[in-house]
Amino acid sequence: MLENIRVSPAPHISHHFSTRSVMIDVIIGLIPAVAFAGFYFRYYALLLIASCVLSAVATEWICNLIRKKPNSLGDFSAVVTGLILALSLPPAIPVWAAVIGSSFSIAIGKMVFGGLGSNIFNPAMVGRTFLTACFGMLMTTWTVPANIDSRMPAISAAMPDTVTQATPLAWSKQALKTRNIEDKTKLVPASRANSLMADMFWGRVGGCLGETSAFALLIGGVYLIIRRTIQPHIPSAVLGSAFLIGTIGYFINSDAFINPLAHLMSGGMLICALFIATDPVTAPLTTKGMYIFGIGVGGITMLIRLLGEYPEGVMYAVLLMNAVTPLIDRFCKLVPAGGVPNA
C-alpha cells in the first residue's frame, strides 16, 4: 500500500479550474453571437465559422507535429481563436480566404512564439490584420443580414454614389467626411447612423458575422463575468474610455459625430471589449495594468474611428496595446500587502 504514497509540494488539493474549462467558458460565451450570426447570415455564416475553427485546429495539430511537441488541442484554445476570427470576418468572404486567415492566426500568431501562453499578439487579430492587408476588398465588402434584404435598397438609394457599404460605422465615417461639404445634397448627417441604434442592438445591420448584434455579445459577456472567467476591468475600461471620447465628439458637433452609444454598439467594439481584449495571454496581469490596457484599446479605437481614415479601428487598437503589454506589466508592479521593504 505504501508504494502508492507520493510526495509533492503543498498545496495538495486544487480548484477544478483548468485551461480547458476557461476556454470552454469562452466558447459558451460566444454561442449567442454564433447563433445570431447563423440567424442573420444563414448557412454561409455557419460554414465560415466551421471552416475557421477546423482550419485553426488542423494548423495547431500540424505545428505541434513539426515542433515535435505533445498535442495541445485538448486546451481548446485553437477553437476559441478560430471562433473569434470567424466572428470578426465579413459575411461574404470566400471560404478559402477565411481558411488562410485562420491558419495564419494559429501558425504565425501563436505557434511561432511557442504556443499558448507565449504569444505576444492576439492570434485572431493577427489573422484578421493579415487578411485585411492581403485581401482588402474582400474584407470590406458587406452584405446585410438575409432577413432584412428588403430594407437594403432604401439605404443604398439614399446615397447611391458614395456608399457601397452599409455598416453603421461606414455611415458614421461618411457623416464625418461630408460635414464640411459644399454640396448639401451629398451631406450625410450623423443622425442616419444614430437612427440604426435599435437595429444595432438586435443585429439587423451590416457588419462582421458576430459583431452585428450587441445583444448577443452582451449575453455572452455577462455570462463570462458571472462565471468569473474574465474580470470586468478590461471591458469597463474599453467601453468607458470609448464612451467618454465619443461623448466629447458628440458634444462638439452632433451632426458630424455619432451618438457615443452607437459607437459602443457598432462594429467590433463589444466583441473586442468582452472577448478579444480580455484574452488573458496578451493582456496585462495586474488590475491597474488592465485598466491602462483597456483605456488604451478604447482610446485608440475611437481615435481611429473619429479622426482616422478607416471606419473601424478595433483590430489595430488591440494589436498596438498587445505590443505594450509587457511594458505595462513592468510599470504596474504590485505592492506587497505590508508595503515595499526598506521603502
Partner: protein
Amino acid sequence: MIAAAKTRRTFPGGVHPPGRKGPSENSAIQLVPVPKQLAILLNQHIGAVCRSLVAKKDVVKASQKIGEADAFVSAPVHSPLNGTVKEISLQPHPVLGRAMGIIIEVEADNVAAKQPVAAKFGTEFDENKFSDEQILQAVREAGIVGMGGAGFPTRVKLEPNKANPIKTIILNGCECEPFITCDYRVMLEWTEQVIAGIKLVRKVLKPERCVIGIEDNKPKAIEAMKRVVGESDGIEVVSLKTKYPQGGERQLIKSIIDRDVPTPGIPPMISVLVLNVATAAAIAEAVVFNEPLTHRVVTVTGPGVERPGNFYAPIGMAVGELIDACGGLKSDAVKVILGGPMMGISIADLSCPITKTSGAITVLNAKEIGGAKHEMRETACIRCGRCIETCPMNLNPTKIAHAVKHGLLDVAEDYHQSACIECGCCSYVCPANIELTGYIRTGKMTVARKKQDST
C-alpha cells in the same frame, strides 16, 4: 453603519476550498493506545537546536526534560511518558528530512496514557495567583512553541518590550485549513483552559485589547467561547468570514484590526501578538500544573483513513501508529500529509514522528487531490491572473515562480518573493496547475542558502 456591521470581517484575496471538516468535527478528543516507542526530535522549533540531556540506556520519567539549549530563542523538549532511552540518532523529520532525535522505549503495558488536564479548569480562574516571572519561567521550561505550525518559542514572544509594548493580543481560533479540527475540538472541550491561558498571557503583557478570532463556520466554538468569557473579562470573541487563509497571522491581524504587518516584519512591530488556541491551552497547563508540552491534540482525517478522529497524542509518536489508531490506511490512499492539504507537508516515511507543531495528519485519495494535480500535469501559464487575484499578500506569484524556474533570483527578489507566506492559494486556483507555491518556496530557500554561504 448597519451595512458596515453586517459585512463580515475579512482580508483581501484568499480562496474558498471545500471545508471538509465533517469526518472529524464531531469526534471528541480521545486517548490513543500507548505507543511502544517515541522519537523526540531535538529540533521541533525555530531557534537553537537542543542538545540531549540524557544518554543511551538512561531511564526517563514522564515530563522529564531531556533536551535543552542555552540560547534565548529555543525551547526544551521533554519525555512524554516513562521509559528508557534506546538511542540518540538521526530520525526522519517532517521538514528537515533527517534530524537528531531521542528514541524512548516505553513499556506500553505498564504505562498509563496521560489524561488531558482540561477538566480541572473551572469558569472562575484567577490569573493573579501567579507572578509574571512565574508565568514566563513556566512557559520557557515547558518548552512551549507556537502550535499552529510555525513553532516559534512562545517565551520569546511573551518577553515584555518597553519601547513597543503589545497593545492587542489575538487568539487564533480560525483553523482555516480544510479537514483539520484539532483547534475546533480544543475550543469546544477545553474552553476554560484556553481562556485561562489567554488571561495568563494578558497578565504578563497588559494589552489594551484581547480578541479571540474564530471563523463563522464554527458557530459552536464561538458560542462556547462566549459562554465562558465573562462580561467583566474584557475579552472579545469575534466571528470572521470563512475564507482561507483567515488563520494566517497577517491575514488575521488585517481582518481584526485592519492593519498590515510590514513586509519584512513580525506582528510585534505593530504591537500585536497572535497566539494559537492550542498554545494558550498549553500555557495554562504549564503555569497551573507545571506540566511541560508533551502531548497535543492531533486530527487524523481525510478520505484515506478508516475512522477519522481527534486524538490526545504524545509528541514523538509515529505518524503510522496514529493512522493505525484510526483503523489504518485505506487502499486508495495516495498521500499522507503532516498538516492540512493547503500547507501541510507530504511524507513518504510513516515512521516520521509528530512534533509540537503537528496539528493534523490528512490522508488523501486521488479523487480528493483532483486529476491534474494528482498526475502532476503542468501546462503553460495563460496569464489569467487568478494567482494575483487570490494572493492575500498582493504579490505576483506567476512572475516570481517563472523567474525562479529560469534561475532569475534577482527578478524574484525584485517582485518581493520573500513576502510570500506560502499559503498555497495561487497553486490552488492555477488553471494550468503550475506549482507556484513550490517554485516560490524554492526561490526563497535558494536565496536564504546563498546568504548563508556568503556569510
